[in-house]
């Protein structure tokens, strides 16, 4: 069974290695190898889910007393997340083959997806903090490579750099957090770290530092701004990043290390506040976004807030439940959006409209996805989101109330922007120029496959199968459910007013530019972080050239000048020697005379 656990990251990694050596335009073999890697990983994940938990260790290196072990441990939670990763990765591989049918650099693209999958699966199965960090950061690098894939988009390189850099800044904290944990427990093994008895101060420091990395990866305020930009990458990549990898990693790691986080009040408080802000922030920005993918991107930010909120109120099972159901429906939504974009040749909601009849498959699958996003029974998102809200209601302390209120308001806003997107894309008149039609079979298939979990995944919780796997009780709906549904209804009705002939975002009035520009956060970030660092860099460079190196060059120039001077003094012609000698004699004579007189 341990062999299966190694296969999880191993198979996609192998696929990636092969893929990097294929000639760049070789689309068919690259797609086949990439899909095969994802398929094998998916098979292994399913086998592990059915089987018992496994663990295995191989020593990788020793640094003094610290051993790094290539450790894997697959709990039911890890297996479930691995299944989600496998499904989404496979769908993305298949879908990409059709979506990027004329791409000249398909082989590295597919290999990068495989590497991305392998990195995420490494995080999922890692039983050593350093191995976890490897997967964690390789994901950042892969997101960079994939977001920059599209060469025709001028904004892609900047978005890619931003994604890598923002998460990397968070990872500074993550590495230091690992250092705190490892230095005290004198081990990097996750099992031993979780069992170690840290002092409160140490634990607070470690968890807060780790949270910085989590916030970066899971796009929590204030490290969220890379995620909406990241949709400059090809649409299947957005599906991959937003659903199964990258953003899921942060939430998963907090759940994995929950004994540490749960024991630190400060970490829980920070998490709760960030979750509440992130939820509302994402929802508000999604309301005014004009780009189909950007609406979905902001909705991811918002939904991630639910997950971290569930963690903050002490319920990792609820967080993981929402993580899994979100993985299904968000991947579906992005792939549907890709189909729409593919068909109308534009990202703008304004260029869509009336696509219901022209693209029936896309319409129905996207409807399922949006229903799950809003949380309409009986689709998956309903169950998982209700669970978060119920857990928040049951939680003690202000965190619970904060998450509950923010969560309920967000339910309403989510219903509003989802309805807007749905109506403006599929109803009314078609406003574009291209001839839209449903996508080819290879793109249609993943939509249909993903629609199944998006619709039915929640029923697993109903059947009582999922709860024990995630390690908690999942289903106790109560009156809060009705409140949430009522609020969702208000949101939907409000958005549908007049949506057939005008954009409901118009009714946001003065808030519209504020939301559309994401509260001008990028401008603030630029002013507060980017510019000062750049200025500091220029000053340092200048000082280095003038002061540090200037001193060195100055010594050189100075000695040459001094040498010249001494040389000149020592090598004058005979007349000047004579003059100098006479002048000396005169001087001595005057001095002698003067002393004589003064005496």
């Amino acid at each position: 069974m341990t062999g299966l656990a190694w296969l999880l990251p191993g198979a996609p990694l192998l696929a990636a290695l092969i893929g990097f050596f294929l000639p760049a335009p070789a689309r068919r073999p690259a797609a086949l190898i990439g899909s095969a890697g994802a398929l094998v990983a998916l098979g292994a994940a399913i086998a592990l889910l059915v089987g018992d938990p496994v663990a295995g260790h191989v020593r990788l290196a020793s640094f003094g007393a610290l051993d790094v072990t290539l450790g894997v441990s697959v709990s039911p939670v890890a297996a479930l997340v691995a299944v989600a990763v496998g499904v989404v990765a496979l769908c993305v591989q298949v879908y990409s083959a059709a979506y990027l049918h004329s791409d000249r650099n398909y082989a590295p693209y597919a290999a990068q997806i495989s590497l991305f999958t392998a990195a995420m699966l490494t995080v999922v199965v890692a039983d050593d903090l350093l191995i976890l960090l490897i997967g964690w950061e390789v994901m950042g690098a892969c997101s960079y490579l994939l977001i920059a894939h599209d060469r025709s988009l001028p904004e892609a390189p900047a978005a890619a750099v931003k994604a890598f850099l923002v998460t990397r800044v968070g990872d500074v904290g993550f590495l230091l957090g690992i250092a705190v944990l490892a230095v005290n427990a004198e081990t990097l093994d996750i099992g031993k770290v979780l069992a170690y008895d840290y002092s409160t101060g140490t634990l607070t420091a470690a968890t807060l530092l780790l949270l910085a990395g989590v916030f970066g990866k899971s796009a929590q305020f204030p490290l969220h701004s890379w995620l909406p930009d990241a949709m400059a990458g090809p649409t299947p990549i957005s599906a991959l990043i937003h659903a199964a990898t990258m953003v899921a990693a942060g939430v998963y790691v907090v759940a994995r290390l929950y004994p540490l986080f749960g024991a630190s009040d400060a970490a829980m408080a920070v998490l709760a506040v960030a979750a509440a802000i992130t939820m509302l922030w994402g929802a508000c920005c999604a309301m005014a976004a004009t780009d189909i993918k950007k609406v979905l991107a902001w909705s991811t930010v918002s939904q991630l807030g639910y997950m971290t909120g569930a963690l903050a109120v002490g319920s990792p099972p609820a967080a993981l439940f929402h993580l899994l159901s979100h993985a299904g429906f968000k991947a579906l939504l992005f792939l549907c959006a890709g189909a729409v974009i593919h068909a109308i040749g534009s990202n703008a909601i304004e260029d869509a409209g009336g696509l219901r009849k022209r693209m029936p498959v896309t319409f129905w699958t996207m409807t399922v996805g949006l229903a799950a996003l809003v949380g309409i029974p009986p689709v998956s998102g309903f169950w998982s989101k209700e669970n978060v809200l119920v857990q928040a209601e049951h939680a003690h302390g202000w965190q619970g109330r904060l998450i509950l209120i923010a969560g309920l308001v967000t339910v309403m806003l989510t219903a509003w922007y989802s309805t807007r997107l749905w109506l403006r894309t599929f109803f009314g008149h078609y406003r574009g120029t291209a001839k839209p039609h449903d996508p080819p079979a290879l793109m249609r298939l993943p939509l249909l496959v993903l629609a199944v979990p998006a619709a039915l995944f929640g029923l697993l919780a109903l059947g009582g199968w999922l709860g024990p796997k995630l390690g908690g009780d999942l289903l106790d709906l109560n009156s809060m459910t009705l409140v949430a549904l009522f609020l969702a209804g208000i949101g939907a009705v409000a958005a549908s007013a007049g949506a057939s002939h005008t954009d409901p975002a118009r009714y946001l009035g003065p808030l519209r530019p504020l939301f559309a520009n994401a509260f001008y956060f990028d401008t603030v970030q630029d002013l507060v972080v980017v510019r000062p660092v750049k200025a500091l860099a220029r000053v340092t460079g200048f000082l280095d050239a003038t002061v540090v190196d200037g001193a060195v060059e100055g010594v050189g120039t100075g000695s040459r000048w001094f040498g010249g001077l001494v040389n000149r003094l020592n090598a004058p012609g005979l007349p000047r020697y004579a003059t100098a000698a006479l002048a000396g004699v005169l001087l001595i004579a005057v001095a002698a005379l003067a002393t004589e007189v003064l005496r």
Binding site: V138, L175, A537, V552
Partner: protein, 466 residues
């Protein structure tokens, strides 16, 4: 005897390069290949010295010709022989000049001499032997301002050598022995300071680094590769092999200062890179930052830190060697190193762009590649030592490295390009491929290095903590 052969082979190769025409070049390159093979054969995971050679050298002065190799020196010996071989192969096609290849081998004699010397005076002599061939390589085959750069390099490092010599004399006076295999460990703080200053110039430690960017930006590609790949390691190796063992008490006192300067180097190197406009200078300054991590690891004087330093040393040699090869190839094709004039490499030569991307990711310490281990564990070692501020600042330096390398990639590889550059030639790929493979191998299986260095480092730490 095998150690004598290790030094004699490249020396013979350097002489063979005097043979006229192709014969000389090929014979010298063969000698480099044999040296590389020989260095691989030395492999072992034992603690203590695997091979030793000890003869009287100048009996009247008690000088001994004492050579030895152990887990600390072996990785660097292999790095030296590998990089020299690759540089010779590269030069065979790129600049087929017998004199250059002869100089490369002469340089190798000095470098290997430093890494296997176990007598302080012998160490110093080998340390100096390195200077002249390097001077000639820069001054003979460098860029337009090569004479200035070569002079600056030699004068600056000679200054360092003078300080080192004072240190050497102090050590021998105070401890009565020049033996490095079994150092008395009783030299004073002053001795440590002089030795450390000498090594700091070589490493280079901020603020004694300013010869490096000039030397790098003017040196020919093979010169840059060996300079960054091996010469800088003389400084860090010297600290581990000489300065700390002979004066452990002094080292402990000076360690916080060393750590502070190392952190300064990481941050300042990173910031300068962020504003740097020229490709080769940028990579030169990135070396200052990376060597800062190595020096931080050394400054902790713990087993973790020294392990991190040794693997960091090796990784920097591989990765920066590769980077200089790639940048050299790029400059050969575009005839400019100005970042503002470059761009669109992804369009004009996808293969070069891919390799440059790989090297940059490795250089920014991406986990899973060689550079990660040294930097991550330098941070952890600093934390272990209780130097939390240093750990935090060094980690921030890691983020800075990502910032400047991504900026570099964005300027060089992205954007439109109308040029059509020729892809990498066969000989170029042959020179780069081993570095790529080793970067991945050390990244995925660091035990390859830590397994060798581990016993030696444990013995070293035990010796100076007793």
């Amino acid at each position: 005897m095998i150690l004598i052969a290790l030094l004699a082979l490249p020396a013979l190769g350097a002489l063979l390069a005097f043979l006229p025409g192709r014969t000389g070049r090929l014979a010298a390159t063969c000698a480099a290949g044999l040296t590389f093979g020989l260095s691989l054969r030395l492999y072992s995971t034992d603690s203590g010295y695997w091979y030793e050679f000890d003869r009287a050298w100048v009996p009247a002065l008690h000088l001994r010709f004492h050579l030895g190799i152990d887990g600390i020196s072996w990785p660097l010996v292999v790095l030296t022989t590998l990089l020299t071989l690759l540089c010779c192969l590269y030069s065979l096609w790129k600049t087929p000049d017998n004199r250059l290849i002869g100089l490369l081998l002469a340089l190798q004699v000095g470098l290997l001499g430093v890494f296997v010397a176990l007598d302080l005076v012998l160490f110093f002599v080998a340390f100096e032997v390195v200077l002249l061939p390097m001077f000639a390589i820069i001054a003979g085959w460098g860029g337009p301002k090569r004479r200035h750069a070569a002079r600056k390099f030699v004068l600056y490092t000679l200054l360092g050598s003078m300080l080192l010599l004072i240190g050497v004399v102090l050590v021998i006076n105070q401890t009565g022995t020049a033996d490095l295999a079994r150092p008395a460990g009783t030299a004073s703080l002053a001795a440590f300071v002089f030795l450390a200053l000498g090594f700091a110039v070589k490493a280079p430690l901020w603020p004694l680094h300013s010869w490096l960017p000039d030397a790098h930006s003017e040196a020919p590609t093979v010169g840059s590769v060996l300079l960054a790949g091996v010469l800088l390691k003389l400084g860090t190796y010297g600290l581990i092999r000489v300065a700390i063992p002979v004066a452990p008490d002094g080292a402990r006192e000076a360690a916080p200062v060393l750590a502070a300067l190392a952190v300064g180097a990481i941050l300042i190197g990173g910031l300068i890179c962020l504003a740097q406009k020229e490709l080769k200078r940028l990579i030169a300054y990135s070396s200052v930052g990376h060597m800062g991590f190595v020096l931080l690891g050394i400054a902790t004087m713990t087993a973790t830190g020294l392990q991190a330093a040794l693997i960091g040393n090796l990784a920097h040699g591989l990765i920066t060697g590769l980077l200089f090869f790639l940048v050299g190839a790029l400059k050969d094709r575009t005839h400019t190193g100005e970042l503002s004039e470059l761009g669109g490499l992804r369009e004009s030569s996808p293969q070069l762009a891919g390799l440059l991307g790989f090297a940059a990711l490795a250089s920014l310490g991406l986990p899973g590649l060689a550079g990660f281990w040294g930097e991550a564990f330098a941070v952890i070692a600093a934390a272990q030592r209780g130097w939390w501020l240093a750990a935090v600042l060094a980690a921030v330096g890691g983020a800075l490295a990502a910032a400047y390398l991504l900026r570099l990639l964005r300027k060089v590889t992205h954007g439109p390009s109308t040029l059509k550059l020729t892809g990498p030639a066969g000989y170029e790929l042959a020179a780069w491929a081993p570095l790529v493979v080793l970067t991945v191998a050390v990244g995925l299986a660091p035990l390859l290095v830590t397994g060798v260095t581990g016993p030696a480092v444990d013995a070293l730490v035990e010796a100076f903590t007793k």
